[in-house]
């Protein structure tokens, strides 16, 4: 039971990682709750194999992304990523930036499952080497994909913002 307590303490501390992954991949509270539960269970099942070589947060990201990608619900489309940022009250500027962010989140929401994983890890400030290790691809491949995604997001978010 010592293990369970240690796991719950770590999960409680890092649960925002799981929430982020759930928000990225699921668009209803029910689905997010189901995915949260699945990730928690999966992490608990794998916890015995967590050797501590990586940070718990990095390990949890890997488990969470693996679970989200393979947690498949028939007929489900990808989620529209929710706006989770509010800016300080500077009236007009705030409004414009929030709208642009909304447009960017909408564009992210339209990405494929794999591209979403890349974007999420990139926003978490992981470098290409770390992202590559988590996804099991080369850093070079990550760089190519990220360039493509950035261009796509720029175009899409501009369209959403203007239209």
């Amino acid at each position: 039971m010592q293990d369970e307590k240690a796991f719950i303490d770590l999960l409680a501390k890092h649960q925002q990682i799981v929430f982020k992954v759930c928000r990225m991949y699921m668009d209803t509270p029910e689905d997010r709750s189901d995915l949260f539960q699945e990730i928690a269970l999966q992490a608990w099942k794998s916890f015995g194999n967590f050797k501590g070589a990586a940070l718990f947060s990095t390990w949890l990201y890997r488990v969470a992304i693996n679970t989200a990608l393979t947690f498949f619900k028939k007929g489900k489309r990808t989620a529209n990523v929710e706006l989770r940022v509010t800016l300080p009250e500077i009236a007009e500027e705030k409004s414009t930036i929030e709208e642009q962010m909304q447009a960017m989140y909408k564009a992210i929401g339209m990405l494929s499952h794999i591209d979403k994983a890349l974007v999420m890890l990139y926003l978490e400030d992981y470098n290409y080497q770390d992202i590559g290790q988590m996804l099991g691809i080369t850093a070079n491949n990550v760089a190519v994909k990220m360039n493509r995604i950035k261009l796509k997001l720029k175009e899409q978010s501009q369209q959403y913002y203007q239209g």
């Binding site: 369970e4 719950i8 999960l11 409680a12 649960q15 925002q16 929430f19 928000r23 189901d34 949260f36 539960q37 699945e38 928690a40 269970l41 999966q42 608990w44 099942k45 794998s46 194999n49 390990w59 890997r62 488990v63 992304i65 693996n66 679970t67 990608l69 393979t70 947690f71 498949f72 028939k74 989770r84 940022v85 509010t86 800016l87 300080p88 930036i97 642009q100 962010m101 960017m104 494929s112 499952h113 794999i114 591209d115 994983a117 974007v119 990139y122 926003l123 400030d125 290790q133 988590m134 996804l135 099991g136 691809i137 491949n141 994909k145 950035k150 997001l153 720029k154 978010s157 913002y161």
Partner: protein, 214 residues
């Protein structure tokens, strides 16, 4: 706005809105008691269920083998019983292998490839097993029936089934139609069943793997 602009905004912790309300340790502990719902975990549950059902069949099949006086039925069920015994070990090993996989945090690509390969193998073996049983049991049923007929013993229920067919060609036609109908029915039903259970999921996994390959 570009992705890097968003990244910079998110880096500014003061700009973050209150995030999801944290779950309490007690709520997290409760979560760990629930059943996992992912397809791979459902497959593991199906495998264990199949294993228990196979073990469950051992008792009634053994009863038939040792207690029914009709020789052909005893042989038929003895073969079924043997198959159940043969199936137990591979089912157990396969279920254990997948259980082990689901408790390992592999890199995403490797994880997808492993799940895909295991599911594909499961679907293939399932289909092969079901279709492989057909000729075995047709051959067994007809040879045993023929032997019983030669020995002069008759099973009234089976005789009644064939009563409307008087000539040999009628019996042969009905037998052939029966084989074709059962074989085609089993083939298409199994294919449909496996596709319904795993088809869409396998396509989903394959698409993600292809994307990572690019």
């Amino acid at each position: 706005m570009e992705l890097d602009d968003l990244k910079n905004l998110l880096k500014d912790q003061s700009a973050l809105a209150p995030s999801d309300p944290p779950a309490s340790p007690a709520a997290l502990q409760q979560l760990l008691k629930s059943n996992p719902q992912s397809p791979i975990n459902k497959m593991v549950r199906n495998l264990w269920l199949e294993l228990y059902i196979t073990i469950g069949f051992l008792v009634p099949f053994s009863f038939v083998v040792y207690s029914i006086p009709i020789w052909s039925i005893r042989v038929y069920f003895a073969v079924l019983l043997g198959l159940c015994w043969v199936l137990i070990l591979p089912l157990f090993l396969f279920a254990r292998k997948i259980s082990k996989l689901s408790s390992t945090a592999l890199p995403v690509k490797k994880n997808l490839e492993t799940i895909y390969a295991l599911m594909k193998l499961y679907v293939k073996r399932y289909m092969q097993f079901v279709m492989g049983l057909l000729p075995i049991f047709f051959a067994l049923a007809f040879s045993l029936g023929f032997k019983e007929g030669q020995s002069g013993k008759h099973i009234p229920a089976f005789d009644k089934l064939l009563t409307p067919f008087t000539s040999l060609w009628q019996i042969v036609t009905v037998t052939v139609l029966y084989i074709v109908f059962v074989a085609m029915g089993t083939y298409y039903f199994t294919k449909w069943y496996l596709k319904k259970l795993y088809g869409q999921y396998l396509e989903h996994l394959a698409a993600m793997m292809a994307e990572l390959e690019e």
